[in-house]
Amino acid sequence: MHNMPADPTLHHAPPQGFIRKYIFSIDHKVIGKQYYALGLVAVVTGMVLSWIMRVHLGWTNARIPGVGFFTPAGAPGGLMTPELYLQIMTMHATLMVFFVLTVAPFAAYGNFFLPIQVGAEDMPFPHINMMSFWVTLVAFCVLVSSFFVGDGPTLAGWTSYAPLSAVGAAAGPGQGTGQVLWAVSIAIFCVGQLLGSLNFIPTTLDLRAKGMTFSRMPYTVWAWFITSLMGLTAFAVLMPACVLLILDHVAGTSFFVASNLVVNDQLVPHAGGSTLLWQHLFWFFGHPEVYIAIVPGMGIVSHVLSTNLRRPLLSYKVVIGSMLTIAFLSYMVYGHHMFVSGMNPVSSLAFSFPTLIITIPATIIVLIWLGSIYKSRLRINSASLFALGFISMFISGGISGFFLAQPTIDIMLHATYFVVGHFHLVMAVAAIFGIFAGTYFWFPKMFGRMLDERLGKIHFWLTFVGAYCIFMPFHYLGFAANVRRYQAFVDDYTVHLIPVHRFITIAALATGAAQFIFLYNIIHSRFWGKPAPENPWEATSLEWTIPSPPPFDNFGGKHPIVTHDAYQYGVDGPDGKDYVMQDAPEGIAPQAPAES
C-alpha cells in the first residue's frame, strides 16, 4: 500500500447520521449489503412459496394452514385452489429469478467488492448507485403488493406469455391488476439493474488502481463486468417489452394480441398483434438472464477455488475467454426456448447449433476447475465446499442442457419437469451455491466477524445432498412426460409418478429447513462471531489488504498500487508464506508458481 493523494473527483465525505449511513447511503458497501438483505428476504419468501407448492403437489387435497393469506380470494378451508397454485408458482419464480439470482450474486457482491477489488474508493456515480437499490426495492414492493390487490397476483408464470398476460381479467384470476403490477414491477426492476450496470462498467474500465491491468483483475471483477454488459442489453429489451405489455392492458393497444380472439365467450377488442413477439422479446432477455445469474457464480467459484487450492487456475486467459464467449453466445441461443412455439422450424435448427456450441466454453471452464484441483493443496472449508458443490451441480445441470438443446428431443421434453430439473440445477442451485461460497468467503470482510465453520459445513452437507434429492428426480419425471405448471396430476399416465413427487416434497421441506442453519449462522455471527482478521483465508486480492470491515473509503485515503496478478498462490512468498498479495512490492516473488 502506497500513500497517494486521493482523487478529489471521486472522494465523498464520510456519511453522517443514521439515515445517510444505513438507509440512503451512497457507500457501495452499504448498498451491497442492502441488496444482500433484499435477496435474503426474497429468497426466504420464495422458498416458503415453494414449500406450499411442493406440499400441494405431493398431497393435492391436503389442507395447508395459512395458505388463504396469500390472496384476497383466499383458500376455502385451507384447500389450495388451482389459480392460487399458479399464482404462488408465478411469484416464487419471479422473486427467485429477479430478486435473488440477479440481486445477490451480481448486485450485492458486485457492489460490495467490485470497487475494492479494482482498488477504487467507490463507484463513479454513487447517487445513481443508491438509486439503483431503491428503485429495485420499489420493484419488489410493487410485486409483493399484487398479493393484496384485486384477485391476487398474476398466474401467468414468470415468463408471462401473451396473450394470457395481455388480454386482461377475462383470462382468469390475477390477469387484470395483478398482471399489470407484475409488468410494472419488472419494468422498474430493469431500470434498477440498468442503473447498476451503468456504475459497474465504468468502475471496471476507469477506476482501476495503478497497476491493475485487465489481466490482473480477479475473476470476480471480470464476471461482474461481463454480467453488467449482458444486463445492459438484456434489461434494456425487457423493460420496453413490459411497457408494451402494460399498454396492451391500459391503453387498448394490441402489441401482443392477435385479431379475432374469443376469451370467455367474448370477442376480444384487439387486432393485429403478435403472440410470438412477446416470446422473442422475453427470451432475448431471458436467456442472457440465465447467464446473468450464473456468470457471477463462475467468477466467485474461480476466485474462492484459487484461494483454497493454493494455486492459480490452469489458465487465467482461458477462463476469462470462455466467460466472454458464453456471454457473446448467450444472445444467439434464446430461441431454444421456442422450438415448438410455432416459430419457423428452420429457426429451431439455427438456434440449436449455438446452444450446443455454448457447451464448449462451459465445458472448458469446468475442465479448468477440475484440472486445477490436480496436485493442488485443496483446503476444505465451508466456502470451498460450496465451490466444489457448485462444480458438481453445474456439471449435472449443464449436461442435461444437451438434451434440451436439440429440437428433436425437445418435442418430448419441452414444458416437462425435465426443464424444471435442468434450470434449477444449473441456474438456481449452482448460482445459490456460488452465493453461499461467496458468503462463507467474504462474510468476515463484509461484517468483520467470522462465520461458524462447523455450522457452515453442516449447512453444506444438508444442502448438497438435499438439492440433488430434489432436482435429480425432476429429470426422471420429465423423461416420463410429466408436464410442468400443473397444480394436480390428473392424466392417467402421470398417476404413477405421484410417489416421486412426494419424495421431492419431503426433500424440499428438509433442505429448506436446513437453510435456517445458514440464517442463524449469519445473524448470530454478525453480532457474536469471532472477530475477523484482515486476511483470514490467506488470500491475495485487494479486499484482503484492508481492515475487516473496510473503512467507508475502502483504502483509508490511500491508493493501492498493484504489482502482481490476482492469484499468486503456491509460490515461495515473503515470510514463508505460500502467496503474494497483489499490492506487495515488486520483485518479491517469482511470477510463476513453483511446480513439480
Binding site: 394480441v257 374469443v262 482461458v318 485443496l378 436439440q406 408436464v483 511446480e595
Partner: protein, 267 residues
C-alpha cells in the same frame, strides 16, 4: 471430510444413473411411425451425456479425495497437457457430440417438420380454448366450412363458430370432443387457438406443438398401434390448465368409419 465428499459425489452420480438405466419411469411407449427417430436420438444423447456426467463427477471426486488437505511438503503440480490440452479435449469431446447429435439429429426434426404431409393425408382440425380441445372433420365434401369468431360460443355449443345456415361447406362438418383416427393413415392436423396460447402434446405419439393465437399451424403424423392415448396441454393457459386434456383413439379403418358415422349422426 474431503474423502466423505468424494464418496458422496460418486454415490450421487451412480445413484442418479440407476433409475435411468433401470427404466423406472418412462414416457408412454411410442405408437407413431416417426417416434422411433426421437427415441433413438434420446437414447444416443443419454449414452453420450451419461458417460460425460459419470466421468466428470468421478474425476471431481477422485481429485478431491487425492489432493485435499495436502501440506506445504507437497509441491503444486501441473496437469499434463495443461490448459491447452483441456481446451483441445473440450473441442474434441463436445465438438464430436455436437456433430454426432446436432447434425445427425436434424434428420428426425426434418422428418416431422420439413417433410410435407402426403397427398392422402387425412385432414383433422383441432381448436384449443380454455380448457378443452375440440376437433373437426370435414365430412363427405372434404372441405372445412369457414370459422366466424363472433359466432364462437360455449353456451350454444358452437365451438368452432360455424354458420351452418349460410355456409354450405359447414353443413356436413363433424365436430367432436375426442380425436379418433384410423391406424396407419397419415393425419394432417390443422391447429388453431380460439383464445390464448395452448399446446398439443401426445406423449405416446411423440408430438408436441404450441397453438399460437392468430396463426394456423399444422402437424402430420401416422399412428401404428390401436389404442387410446392422452392429449394434454403444455402451455400455461390459466387456472384449468392442468385439466385441459382430450383423448386420441387409434382405431381400425372399419371402426373409424363407424365412429365417424355415429358422430355425424349426432351433429
Amino acid at each position: 471430510m474431503a474423502k466423505l465428499l468424494a464418496v458422496t459425489i460418486i454415490i450421487i452420480a451412480i445413484g442418479s444413473a440407476i433409475p435411468i438405466v433401470g427404466h423406472y419411469w418412462e414416457a408412454p411407449a411410442n405408437v407413431s411411425t416417426h417416434g422411433h427417430l426421437i427415441d433413438d436420438q434420446m437414447s444416443d444423447t443419454m449414452v453420450e451425456t451419461g458417460i460425460c456426467f459419470l466421468v466428470s463427477q468421478i474425476i471431481l471426486a477422485v481429485f478431491i479425495w487425492k489432493y485435499a488437505n495436502r501440506g506445504r511438503e507437497h509441491r503444486i503440480g501441473r496437469l499434463p497437457g495443461g490448459a491447452l490440452g483441456l481446451v483441445i479435449l473440450a473441442f474434441l469431446v463436445v465438438g464430436s457430440e455436437v456433430i454426432a447429435l446436432g447434425v445427425l439429429g436434424t434428420h428426425a426434426w426434418a422428418e416431422v417438420y420439413f417433410k410435407p404431409p402426403g397427398p392422402n393425408a387425412m385432414p383433422v382440425q383441432v381448436q384449443a380454448g380454455q380448457f378443452a380441445f375440440y376437433f373437426r372433420y370435414p365430412g363427405p365434401d372434404g372441405v372445412f366450412g369457414p370459422i366466424h369468431p363472433d359466432m364462437i360460443s360455449e353456451a350454444t355449443e358452437n365451438f368452432f363458430g360455424l354458420d351452418t345456415t349460410h355456409d354450405a361447406a359447414s353443413k356436413d362438418d363433424i365436430v367432436t370432443a375426442e380425436m379418433d383416427i384410423p391406424i396407419n393413415r397419415e393425419i394432417h392436423l390443422l391447429m388453431h387457438s380460439k383464445d390464448l396460447g395452448h399446446s398439443f402434446f401426445v406423449p405416446a405419439m411423440r408430438i408436441q406443438q404450441d397453438f399460437v393465437p392468430g396463426l394456423d399451424l399444422s402437424l402430420h403424423f401416422t399412428a401404428d398401434k390401436i389404442g387410446r392415448y392422452e392429449i394434454v396441454c403444455t402451455q400455461l393457459c390459466g387456472l384449468g390448465h392442468y385439466n385441459m386434456k382430450a383423448y386420441l383413439s387409434v382405431l381400425s379403418p372399419d371402426d373409424f368409419d363407424k365412429w365417424l358415422k355415429q358422430e355425424a349422426a349426432l351433429q
